[in-house]
Symmetry: C2
Subunit: 204 residues, 2 copies
Amino acid sequence: MDEQKKGTRRRGQVLEEAILFAAWEELLETGYTQMTMESVATRAGTNKSVLYRRWPDKSALVIAAMRKYFFPKITNEIPNTGSLRGDVYAYLHARVEPLKTIGAETIRGLIMEPMVWRMIIASMPQIIQKPRSENKMIAAMAAILKNAELRGEVCLEKLTPRIISLPLALLQYELITKLEPISDETIAEIVDDIFMPLVRAAQQ
Amino acid sequence: MDEQKKGTRRRGQVLEEAILFAAWEELLETGYTQMTMESVATRAGTNKSVLYRRWPDKSALVIAAMRKYFFPKITNEIPNTGSLRGDVYAYLHARVEPLKTIGAETIRGLIMEPMVWRMIIASMPQIIQKPRSENKMIAAMAAILKNAELRGEVCLEKLTPRIISLPLALLQYELITKLEPISDETIAEIVDDIFMPLVRAAQQ
DNA sequence: TCAATAGGAAACTTTAAGTTTTTTATGTAT
DNA sequence: ATACATAAAAAACTTAAAGTTTCCTATTGA
């Protein structure tokens, strides 16, 4: 509950971080609809007006909390296994990994509260609705394919944006619909039964 | 506004249908969040308590309205255009068509609402964890492919369940992430750039 | 024709969002 | 050290909509 010593008044960064942490915990424990500005303020040991001074409304606060406590755990490193198949598999695997490792209660919170996923999608257009070209994940896929081209594995020009973004789309579709961490088998299916055959077909 | 004659008091079926129609119109015009029980009651020429006497809450009312005015529009007929490409395109197109009567705002609102989401899940079984084999839409895709096989276009045995369900998965991914009706171009991309090449590749 | 049923109207409670005001602690500049 | 600006704490307030209750009255049908 973040009990503060009497006579100590937090402000600035410190207070802001306490609020974001409280919001994140509240989100995991009660879910988006249950969580109120009041409950977050109370948990952070402060009050509503302090929250509204920083974020225009509830969704802005939640987005800020997720930006701080969830998204940074997702890596965007470009693997280098020596093959296109290996790189794509490794990249998808790494994207999905945080869900298994960011703490049991976090995953449980996210998985048990479908609204959190819907929230991410609905109120963070920049994550998913951004033009594909501006998307970090798509950029990573493009980089992986560029490497494959340098090795002579593919001709990048022959691949449409939709093909490039397909593995990520399928990964996200699995997450959204199954609401549980994705198995390695599913990742392998996406790569071996869908993506690689398509890439090969496009080379003709 | 469904003005009723003075001295005439509707009841039972008649009143219920007037309310559902008002709810549906209200939903289309203002979207889920804007629409209030009050506004629906007023539009139907009645009052809130009558609504609450029939449906426990707002989402139940919306669900009832959608069940009456939206879901019946979604067909599951198997087209017969003479080609696999044509059949898949036609099927996806027919599934998506009814969404165009609903605005993006409404789709967004509906998806944000847990009760409604559960209902959508219930009536669009693709989105849930149901085994693919029990799914009506997947069954339709299988039937389309069976017809193609009879014409000698494909060998059905060589297609994995994931490939068969791919067009529908991508369609739903578009809907969930874009939260707006899907364009014909997108459907064509799914069919021509993804599905058909994959089917062809699988025949080798 | 009379009692049961259910619609109409309106006041009411509750809940949470969001705002405003007042008081007071604290960091910073003088 | 003092004073000043800043922003946190506290609480009252407004608003909007959900949902409830009550009372009255039109309609139905036994």
